[in-house]
Symmetry: C2
Subunit: 415 residues, 2 copies
């Protein structure tokens, strides 16, 4: 099956929004055995939209459109899909009733007349409910071609996809491809290949290794008649991999590093406190992006002003002797964080997030330390690509330091 | 002039990356009077890429491509642009020397043989240097058509655009459209229309009003032969607007709310300290995304554990009497932040970022307070769309509260 996405909206043509719906849909299609060959973005222009839809009908089996379902005159997707299919639009009485009820519920009664457009469909369209907005979608099917018409706002599109479109594609698929990603750290691609020789030759699931910013990922992909069968093929292979590389897997699928670190903190019964300056609260924010982080995260001090560091336990002499941006100050911050937040582990970060060198050190220099009751680990790095990127990298390095500590601690069996 | 963007890469078709280059370029084109009519995304596939390029050459004057300039066999953009133009590729000796020197500088000597591809061009292509990567771009021009061939990584594309492509487009433009956005708050669209009647009828610059999440934006757009002339048309109108709505403008163009709040804090000579729990450091992080924020930001306490709140000045009785998620606790946190961070203003936030109700309050409930030496302002809101979105909204509300306070303070002339 060949698919094409047509993303519709003049605001895309002006660069006012980035079309994230296309990449969302693109990422979903492989599991149903559908090949995405084209994405076309086009404004709310009758001639060009018609051209795009006609071409898509010529060369693709499935066409997914997003956008252009609003109530204004600019919103012409319904009309143009109707024209491309050679069908007339009519008001669907059931949809009209739902739409009027929707407006009444929101205290808008009577419904603005122009919204009646949103209750229209063509004969070969089945309505896709949109509980997150006023514009329902369409599942249009005729002569072996399918056009799935969805709204533009990503929250509405995702919901419609998950609840109505994906299940239908799954019912129609000859085979389902399920993939599961195991995220590892501490072993390079070559070492992983060696450790996993006995399973790597399998074909269902196939196993691929990919070097990523957060470590090497193993992707297991299995094909079967149903999702359950595919998952059942993956499970024993995953178990065997976990046996072969104990402790190296820190997360699965979309797990963020902060989720992986959080899981290990919880498993090891440890709490964490922070004292961060250059990262300005971004480390704390990443850690608290994880549900249940209050189980292990005590809190943090964002010690932006130097005085805040000394008020909360960094000796003024350390800063005076070694400088604000130094190994010694980072280590003192890590130790102070443990005390100030009454946590098992303390993480300290100091550095230069701005674009100017300070204290004779280049912009982007960061000093990081992690303290437990007995020891302090330290690392430094330099990264400069603007303040926000530099902060993001600081968060990543902090999580890497934590993850390394927790994996080593688990391997030692300290807990 | 009609333009088309062709974004190239199989990873786009698998949804592994979102094509942000297209929206970046789309946002740049209007100022040169170039109309973007089409964006096509296509994989690294010879037949489909050729089809896309031929169609683009048929219907557009300018074609901007990104991606497919790497050294591997998959990277076929150069070859396909050559084929679409009917020209042969050859190794440009000057580019070869540069490329070899680039590799030698990075300690890779000799250069891997396959990279020689990146030194190739066609006769009608002029090379666009790429100091951020190994793949130079091309400016291809013949028979009234222009193809601008750029690499895929956004950092490389943006740099090439800013340094080489944009200046060339500006030289060729008959007129330059410069726009400037003034970000306002406190006045609705109707009130703004009334206050600005005397300037709104102007046509160069034209003035549009747009309701945005962070307030009503005024967009001034002027057209002139040169950028300088266009800017000179905007300046007096902007000055008049600032005179007509004193204090209502909190930022310009891409200013974030945290930048706007930061500017007001600096102007009013005030410092800020935070105590945040549900937002988990995200408010501090937003404030420190701004260059120079150390001028006014003292720091923050991320009081995730309840004990951290009481350790740093929130009376245990307040929490016991009113609950963790309450107006009283938020106000106590704001006051405690002022003391704990020795700041002029203290901001406190407590609430429920997770998906479960707590203390009889629905998930997503937030309590926010802002304290100065004399008073405490309070607001509450509820927003639930997953933890990360809820945190982001909490940051926005905190900045709104701060902005409102600072605008009112400026209007009163307290500083």
């Amino acid at each position: 099956m060949r698919a094409e996405i047509v993303s519709i909206g003049t605001e895309i043509m002006f660069g006012e929004i980035t079309d994230t719906n296309a990449s969302y849909i693109a990422g979903q299609l492989p599991q149903y055995g559908i090949d995405l060959l084209w994405v076309t973005q086009v404004g709310d222009n009758p001639a060009r939209l018609t051209e795009a839809l006609k071409r898509a009908l010529d060369r693709s089996d499935y066409i997914f459109t997003t956008g252009g379902l609003g109530p204004t005159e600019d919103d012409i997707t319904r009309e143009m899909v109707g024209a491309a299919m050679g069908e007339e639009l009519f008001v669907d009485p059931e949809q009209e009733a739902l739409l009027r009820a929707n407006f009444a519920r929101r205290g808008i009664d009577p419904m603005p007349p122009r919204n009646i457009k949103q209750a229209m469909r063509i004969p070969s369209a089945r309505v896709l409910e949109n509980p997150r907005g006023t514009a329902p979608g369409w599942w249009v099917e005729r002569d072996g071609k399918v056009i799935v018409v969805m709204p533009g706002p990503p929250a509405e599109t995702h919901h419609m996809w998950e609840t109505l479109v994906a299940p239908e594609l799954e019912r129609r698929a000859d085979a389902i491809l399920v993939s599961r990603t195991l995220k590892t750290v501490g072993l390079g691609e070559a070492a992983l290949d060696e450790a996993l020789t006995s399973v790597l030759s399998g074909t269902n699931p196939s196993i691929g290794t990919y070097a990523r910013a957060d470590g090497v990922a193993l992707r297991l992909a299995a094909k079967a008649k149903t999702r359950e069968e595919a998952q059942a093929l993956i499970a024993p292979v995953e178990a065997e991999i976990r046996r072969l590389i104990p402790g190296a897997i820190w997360g699965v699928d979309d797990d963020s590093m902060s989720a992986g670190v959080g899981r290990m903190l919880r498993e090891q019964g440890l709490t964490l406190g922070l004292m961060e300056s250059a990262s300005g609260g971004a480390i704390a924010s990443a850690i608290t992006d994880v549900d249940g982080s209050s189980d292990y995260f005590r809190g943090g001090i964002v010690s932006y002003a130097t005085e805040v560091k000394t008020m909360y336990g960094v000796p003024a002499e350390t800063i005076a002797t070694h400088g604000l941006y130094s190994r010694e100050t980072a280590e003192a911050m890590a130790k102070a964080a443990r005390v100030a937040l009454k946590s098992d582990l303390g993480l300290g970060l100091t550095g230069i997030a701005g674009n100017e060198p300070l204290e004779g050190q280049p912009a982007g220099t960061m000093h990081l330390a992690l303290a437990d009751a007995d020891n302090v680990e330290y690392m430094t790095f330099r990264f400069l690509q603007g303040r926000e990127q530099t902060k993001r990298r600081a968060v990543q390095q902090a999580l890497i330091l934590l993850r390394k500590y927790l994996i080593e601690r688990a391997a030692k069996g300290t807990h």
